[in-house]
């Protein structure tokens, strides 16, 4: 394998269709280039993890997948990102529609200052789902999907801010699930959480994978090793290696990957 610049890093031995296809992508914050010629294939209904040291561009890439970087003044993208074969950066793409298909959970736990119910119903209501029964149904299913239902079903109308940190993060997952996405992006979802909450979320990821494609950015290599099927390693804006998780952690093809996963730098 070409160590320096793999022209096309595809997940090997995948029998699945790629959900997301990233081709020759460069990304700039104003004059600063944040990502360099990224080529990557995210398989459907698998968990893909992006790892790498701080500032390596993994979160930037994640945010490109639902065009949240559009909000940053002066940001610019070259190349293509295809979701189900469609370029999401084409001018006629409805960004709001894209974002309902590609949900995201942030590192910083960010429930809205509303009730638990209103948080989950926020997304559906934006799409003019206003029937109470339908909303109740969506809220219950989403909370169940996020594994939170049993804990909050008696206090749906309490403030979301009254939940613990781990519960708040699962609420954010439920909120993302409520608009029925087929890709869920997770940007270091457990970095602010205690081990028990982390374990719950990791457990959750396994069930989520049955319905949707998950892309997770993590600092925690054990987490990546535990939960993901595929792992991409980023360094200074470049995708160094992308492969089966097992391979990345046991037999990496690149020296830098090995140094990183064995903890020689970080």
């Amino acid at each position: 394998m070409n160590l320096h610049m793999p022209p096309y890093s595809k997940a090997p031995a995948t029998k699945m269709t790629p959900k997301i296809l990233i081709q020759n992508m460069n990304f700039f914050y104003g004059a600063t280039q944040a990502l360099f010629d990224v080529n990557l294939e995210v398989p459907a209904q698998q968990i893909t993890a992006f790892i790498g040291p701080s500032g390596c561009g993994k979160s930037t890439l994640l945010r490109c997948l639902n065009r949240l970087n559009d909000l940053v003044d002066g940001s610019r993208l070259e190349g293509q990102i295809l979701l189900d074969g469609q370029d999401i950066y084409r001018a006629d793409v409805d960004v709001t529609d894209l974002r309902t298909r590609v949900g995201i959970v942030f590192q910083k736990v960010n429930p809205f200052p509303k009730t638990i119910y209103q948080n989950v119903a926020y997304g559906p209501r934006l799409q003019k789902v206003n029937r109470r029964a339908t909303l109740d149904d969506i809220v219950e299913k989403s909370l169940q999907g996020a594994g939170l239902w049993e804990e909050v079903k008696d206090r749906l109308h309490a403030s979301a801010l009254s939940l613990s940190g781990g519960q708040q993060q699962r609420l954010c997952i439920a909120r993302a699930l409520a608009v029925n996405p087929n890709v869920l992006l997770m940007d270091e979802p457990c970095s602010a959480l205690d081990p028990i909450s982390t374990a719950k979320i990791e457990e959750l990821l396994h069930t989520l994978k049955e319905q949707l494609t998950v892309v997770i950015v993590t600092h925690n290599m054990q987490q990546a090793a535990r939960v993901s099927d595929y792992t991409g390693f980023f360094l200074l804006g470049e995708l160094i290696e992308y492969d089966n998780t097992k391979k990345i952690f046991t037999n990496p093809g690149d020296q830098r990957t090995e140094d990183y996963v064995t903890g020689r730098f970080g």
């Binding site: 995201i104 509303k114 009254s162």
Partner: protein, 781 residues
């Protein structure tokens, strides 16, 4: 809501953890400190502790001082105001028997007092005596003087500042007496020197029938008198003298008999200050109004029945200003009567009873009006003296003398005392402390029927050119003006400021925002006196001229902006991308300036086409709006200009302080920026926007200079945007120079201040409570 706050562990946890994190390093640090460093560590810790304590003390003292000074201001205002409502007080100061003999005759006596209440005179049985009230002694000079050899059967005292008295004698002649008090200063000591002068007897009725009633009134044109004789005739006369009233010159007497069947029933007479109006009170409860403008041709104007009962009118008096008549009856009722407009009578007015006062237990024997205000005192034949005030419609004080019929009663010239003479020849002087008789809660806050008005009204008019004017201290026009000004200013400022803040915080590029925000905040640096000056002297006349254009703008500007926004959608994307450099704003500016200049240049066309050539007339005829140059519209612009920066700045801060990760969270769920704004940002920023509105409101309520200079300060109660108003604050500023220290106006102005204070204080308190609740509900961290 409360339960939510109690149950919510979020903020509490946050605070608890914050405390931990701030304390933890300290403990850690000291326990791990190696011993060589411990000494310096201890010293620095001590200094730190000292600094901490010092800071705590300063904060504590500062906070406490603030609270105390605000409370102090409040208490001071309250104390100044409370005196308005304190009860009047009186004390009996002197009471002694005058030295007289013989039988008493009811009408034939009179008493009087000087303005310092040192000397009283008594005219009794043809004798005039001056008494020193301090010593209760007859003054040696001029002593007891006989003023008439024939018995005096009737005495009439003229109203006004001077002591003019007309006496009717048993042989049908009229004598004039004038008493004067002069102040003489010797070595800085004031002495009052009384003197009197007499005129020649004048014969009115050739029958020489004894005069039973007499009224007199000197005016510029001479002395008007009215007499009733025992023979049942009523005469009116005007005595004019070439060389002064009481000189030796020839006097010219023009007289006329009033031919009326009432003559035998007349019980009392009343002349006005000009000597042109005569009222006859009768024994059968009628008030007969004669017009004496042409003395040789008196006109009977009207006859008013005072009530159902055939109650005898025993006493009549005009309050100063000659508009209100106080009427006392045999049964002891005291009432105030005013001419009111009516279509029933020929003259267009009808004497109407407007107020009843506390009824005396006995027949009214004397009424004496105050020479200062609309107060008066009444006395009855059982020794009671009541003090009333007409405007306030209240009976302020009651004195219960010596149960002896009071024969005459005089209110001291300064309205700070009164003198009575009863049937036991007991001369009694009462001192009065009655500083604010016209103020009650009712006169301040409810509609009052003032003299010259046909209906009770809320009116503020604290002073006028004449002394006999009735002060009107209705607070509602001022409160109303304050609210009106605030409302119109907020109506303009709130949408502009809040929407501007929303646009700046949510949609504007960062570079542009960095310019726009400080520029708007600089608007607040403009002193309000400059704004008021510009508004009153430049903008108000300008607005008056371009009003049709302004009206057109209110329609065309929104339309053209909307059209521009629609047009923007069709601008090529490549050009739209330049939005970051404000191309859209530049285009918008061009559209705005263009629309405004088109409107301005077609001002006259609009006026002639839309308003029939004169918008003021059009407004008046179509809507009944009077257009004043200085009006609420000017204020809404000027005061709006003053409050926009405050509302804008605080709203913008609270909007841009909504955490970015909340925005991302919302956008990531597929919300458009507009949905994010309306469903999330506005809710999260609502405490901040709310307090921005309240602070703007408080500023507008208390604003003085702009409303002072640009409203015209007319205390009227109309919502029309085209006329002015007067606010509490401007009123204080306007009237402060006219308010003598400690006077009624002075204290009423303090009341205005107290109202303002209470108003802003409660608004701020309520706003803060609401803000806290909103924050507990909607703010995240």
């Amino acid at each position: 809501m409360t339960t939510f706050v109690v149950r919510s562990p979020g903020p509490q946890n946050l605070m608890a953890s914050a405390n931990h994190s701030s304390q933890a390093p300290n403990i850690h640090h000291s326990s791990l400190n190696p011993s060589p460093l411990r000494r310096s560590g201890t010293t620095s810790r001590r200094i730190r502790a000292l600094a901490d304590r010092g800071a705590a003390v300063i904060v504590w003292v500062g906070g406490l001082a603030t609270i105390l000074s605000i409370m102090g201001i409040f208490i001071y205002l309250l104390l100044e105001v409370v005196s308005l409502f304190l009860h009047s007080e009186s004390s009996e100061q002197t009471s002694f028997s005058i030295d007289t003999t013989g039988s008493n005759h009811f009408d034939s006596l009179a008493i009087g007092i000087d303005e310092y209440q040192e000397i009283a005179y008594v005219l009794y049985q043809g004798q005039l005596g001056f008494y020193d009230l301090a010593t209760s002694q007859l003054r040696p000079s001029p002593g007891m003087v006989s003023v008439s050899k024939t018995p005096i059967t009737a005495i009439g005292r003229a109203s006004g500042r001077n002591h003019h008295i007309a006496m009717g004698t048993q042989d049908g002649r009229v004598l004039f007496l004038m008493v004067q008090f002069r102040s003489v200063f010797e070595n800085g000591v004031r002495t009052i020197v009384p003197s009197f002068s007499m005129g020649d007897p004048i014969e009115i009725d050739t029958d020489q029938s004894p005069i039973t009633k007499i009224a007199c009134q000197p005016s510029d044109e001479g002395i008007t008198i009215a007499i009733v004789t025992k023979a049942g005739k009523i005469w009116v006369a005007k005595i004019e003298e070439a060389g002064g009233l009481l000189s030796e010159n020839e006097t010219m007497v023009r007289r006329m008999e009033l031919h009326t069947p009432d003559a035998t029933t007349v019980s009392t007479l009343l002349l006005d200050q000009l000597g042109e109006t005569l009222f006859l009170g009768t024994h059968d409860g009628r008030l007969v109004h004669w017009d004496l403008q042409d003395i040789e041709n008196p006109q009977l104007l009207s006859t008013t029945h005072i009530g159902h009962t055939k109650d005898s009118i025993t006493s009549l008096a005009y309050l100063i200003g000659d508009r209100t008549i106080i009427l006392g009856t045999q049964s002891g009722t005291v009432s105030a009567w005013m001419p009111m407009h009516t279509s029933n009578t020929e003259s267009g007015t009808q004497l109407t009873k407007v107020r009843d006062f506390v009824t005396h237990p006995g027949a009214i024997t004397a009424i004496s009006p105050s020479k200062r205000d609309k107060g008066f005192v009444t006395a009855d034949d059982q020794g009671h003296v009541f003090l009333h005030h007409s405007t306030a419609a209240q009976t302020i004080l009651a004195f219960h003398g010596y149960e002896s019929p009071i024969q005459d009663l005089v209110f001291a010239p300064k309205a700070n005392g009164l003198v009575t003479l009863d049937a036991q020849q007991q001369l009694t002087r009462y001192a009065l402390d009655n500083p604010h008789p016209e103020i009650t809660m009712n006169t301040l806050f409810t509609p009052v029927l003032y003299e010259g008005y046909d209906q009770p009204a809320h009116i503020w008019q604290s002073s006028s050119g004449s002394d006999d004017f009735e002060p009107k201290f209705g607070m509602w026009p001022l409160i109303f003006g304050t609210l009106k000004g605030t409302m119109y200013a907020m109506l303009l400022a709130v949408p502009l400021a809040v929407m501007g803040a929303i646009y700046t915080a949510m949609f504007m590029s960062r570079e542009l925002r960095a310019i726009v925000k400080p520029v708007i905040e600089i608007m607040a640096a403009l002193p309000s006196v400059v704004l008021g000056f510009l508004a009153g002297l430049w903008f108000a006349p300008l607005l008056e001229e371009i009003f049709p254009a302004l009206l057109a703008m209110s329609v065309t500007i929104p339309l053209s902006v909307m059209a521009a926004c629609l047009g923007w959608q069709y601008v090529p994307k490549s050009l739209q991308a330049r939005q970051r450099w404000g191309l859209d704003l530049v285009i918008l500016m061009i559209v705005l300036v263009g629309t405004i200049s088109v409107c301005l240049s077609s001002n006259h066309i609009i006026e002639s086409w839309w308003f029939d050539g004169n918008y003021k007339e059009w407004l008046l005829t179509v809507f009944g709006f009077q257009y004043d140059q200085r009006n609420a519209l000017v204020i809404s612009f000027a005061m709006g200009f003053a409050v926009i920066p405050i509302i804008f700045s605080i709203s913008e801060d609270s909007l841009s302080n909504v955490p970015k990760h909340l925005l991302s969270g919302s956008l990531a769920l597929g919300a458009t920026p507009w949905q994010t704004l309306t469903k999330l940002v506005l809710v999260s920023a609502s405490p901040g926007i709310f307090s921005a509105l309240m602070i703007g409101f408080g500023r507008a309520v208390g604003e003085t200079m702009i409303v002072l200079m640009a409203t015209g300060n007319t205390p009227i109660m109309e919502w029309s945007i085209f006329n002015g108003f007067r606010t509490l604050s401007a009123n204080i500023a306007v009237e402060m120079p006219e308010a003598p220290h400690g006077g009624t106006l002075y204290r009423v102005l303090f009341l205005a201040g107290l109202l303002l204070f209470t108003f802003t204080f409660s608004i701020n308190t309520i706003a803060e409570i609401i803000r806290q609740r909103l924050r507990a509900k909607y703010s995240q961290y």
